[in-house]
């Protein structure tokens, strides 16, 4: 009796299932995800602390202003948008989130390569596109699950803080922020997967995407908008008025579309209403840059898996 080869969708489902299990068993992926969650909690605490401290300063200021005969201004907390409480999340998604996604993406391919599965798998009549699509689905699902849990922590923080006006717009904003964060993290997950499929050694497969991440986070924003390396960590820098001049016009036109760290920071800062928004990019442009980066990396991953030489698939440290 001859069994028909499994369909592409069946292969994709099996591949996704295996990749998810392998990721959950990997200590490094678990460690980085845990670290990301700790930072989500820290961000929630900092949001609470920011409100609490400014309230306390305001209370201490009133007697001083009265003693000087000055008018009492309104509490600045009232002027602060609710979602800006989570402004640190922009930094943590950009740093730890991206690194965790990168390792997760790497692990979805590395588990197969280290287990010697590739030669066996690719000797069967299975669709390589199906395998790649399954791994992409696993990356998207894992990142979405992690961000959903992070969003839940933020939602609980907002519900616990007294005096916040939680309108439908605020909840929609939170949802949009995590949607944009998912787009950013999935791009790095895919980058990790492409590197794991393309390089011969695990160390290079980790070092190369980390170097790309470093360049995108700290070097490119300086060339397009004169945002210094440390200022790049501050979400408030996303909407700085960029310097004018031919150099920045050209650099921005060339590097803007690939500067996804800048696009993410701009979008996230706009959604969280951290600053009014005065950067060179636009919401549509930044969103398009993130979507195109994801599509390009997904396509590159499918192509790398299709061209993968299973006979030389050993994966050294």
């Amino acid at each position: 009796m001859v069994f028909p080869p499994p369909s592409t969708s069946e292969i994709a489902r099996l591949s996704a299932n295996f990749a998810l299990k392998a990721g959950a068993r990997d200590n490094t992926v678990v460690l980085l995800t845990l670290l990301f969650f700790i930072m989500v909690l820290v961000s929630a605490y900092l949001g609470w602390s920011a409100t609490d401290t400014v309230n306390a300063i305001y209370a201490k200021t009133i007697p001083v202003l009265l003693a000087h005969g000055k008018p009492i201004p309104p509490n600045p907390v009232g002027d602060t948008p609710v979602l800006s409480l989570f402004r640190n999340m922009v930094t943590y998604v950009g740093l730890l989130g991206a690194l965790a996604a990168l390792v997760l993406g790497h692990q979805t391919v590395a588990a197969d390569r280290k287990g010697g599965v590739m030669p066996l798998l690719f000797s069967r009549p299975v669709s390589r596109t199906g395998i790649a699509l399954g791994k992409i689905a696993a990356i998207i699902f894992s990142i979405a699950a992690a961000l959903a849990a992070a969003g839940l922590v933020n939602a609980l923080t907002m519900l616990m803080l007294p005096g916040l006006s939680l309108t439908g717009t605020v909840w929609l904003g939170l949802l949009m922020f995590y949607g944009v964060s998912a787009l950013y993290m999935v791009a790095f997950g895919l980058l990790g997967a492409v590197s794991a499929a393309a390089f011969k050694t695990e160390s290079m497969a980790l070092l190369v995407p980390i170097t790309i991440w470093l360049a995108l986070t700290f070097i490119v924003p300086q060339m397009t908008a004169n945002i210094g390396p440390m200022a790049a960590l501050n979400p408030q820098s996303a909407n700085l008025v960029v310097p004018t001049g031919t150099f920045f016009d050209i650099a921005s036109a060339i590097l803007g579309p690939v500067s996804i760290a800048e696009s993410y920071r701009y979008l996230a800062s706009s959604i969280l209403e951290i600053t009014p928004g005065a950067g060179r990019t636009t919401v549509e442009g930044a969103l398009l840059a993130l979507i195109l980066a994801n599509l390009a990396l997904a396509w590159a991953f499918i192509l790398t898996v299709k061209k993968f030489d299973a006979c030389r698939s050993t994966y050294r440290d």
């Binding site: 980085l32 001083v64 202003l65 980390i210 070097i219 004169n226 210094g228 440390m230 050294r316």
Partner: protein
Amino acid sequence: MISRTSQISTIAAKEISDALHAHLLTLLTGFLVAAALVSLSVSAVALHGEYLIYIESRDLLISLGKPVADLVAPAFYPLKLLRGFVEHAEIIGAVLGIVLGYRAAALERGHSTLALILTRPLSQVTFLGGKLAGNAALIVTALAITFIIGTLTLSTVSGVGLGATDIFRITIVFAAASLYVINFFLLGFILALSIKRLPTALLVAFAIWLSLVLIAPQIGDTMDPDNQVAGGVFRKLDIAKPDEKEILKSFATYETIRDSIEQASPAKHFERLSFAVLGIKDIYNGQPLGDIIKDRMADVWWLLVTFAALAGLLFLRPLNLTRLTKE
């Protein structure tokens, strides 16, 4: 019997030769130089733009009848252009240190030569000392190249010749940067000699780097009460500086916690020292170097104590060869 000094220099020379052969050091140094050059050039371009705006505004004021004597020309400090340069050394320099530390251990573990070497008449201290000496030489050379290119570029882009004091100040920052990067080398090396799987060691080192270099200073910065409201909370409430200081006395514990988080970051100590020496931080601008060093001595000690602690850990902790064999 070969002397210990000779053994150390042989291992150090082998380490340098291996690193140059692998092109990894060249690649990372090139990346650091490129980042530093980008930073300097972009700062110069931005400064030039600001200068043109100043000229335009000045001409407008003069055309409106403002006396030239009333216009205060902006002060120009070329060393301030090194801000991004120092920050790149802080971020990418640390990565360079971690990768070299990782490579120094991975090389022996990957070839299974670690156990073999230590069966020879060679003490663990000599072996590790040779590795440290070789990599310290590589780090100092890589940073020296970066700083020399940076200094020459600074002089060219600013159009201002640097004096002997300026060069001396840059040399002090170079020495601090070398010590800072060597500390991260030790971190990467210790982890790669302690953790069973090499890629895990690399990722743990990067997680520590993220936490200490990027996240801890950012938390400290965010917790600053004046950074929690756009434009500053005290300015928004129209509070004068003396009253601000008085009010902040009630938040002494909060400030201590905030400062402690910042203090936990070796990057912050390197940054504070460098920004003070180069006059990037306004309060140190134009101050005598001796006074600045005296004021920032705590940062110097932090870098030295971190080095002593990590070196102590490296030399005093016995290597577990069974754990370090190739998988």
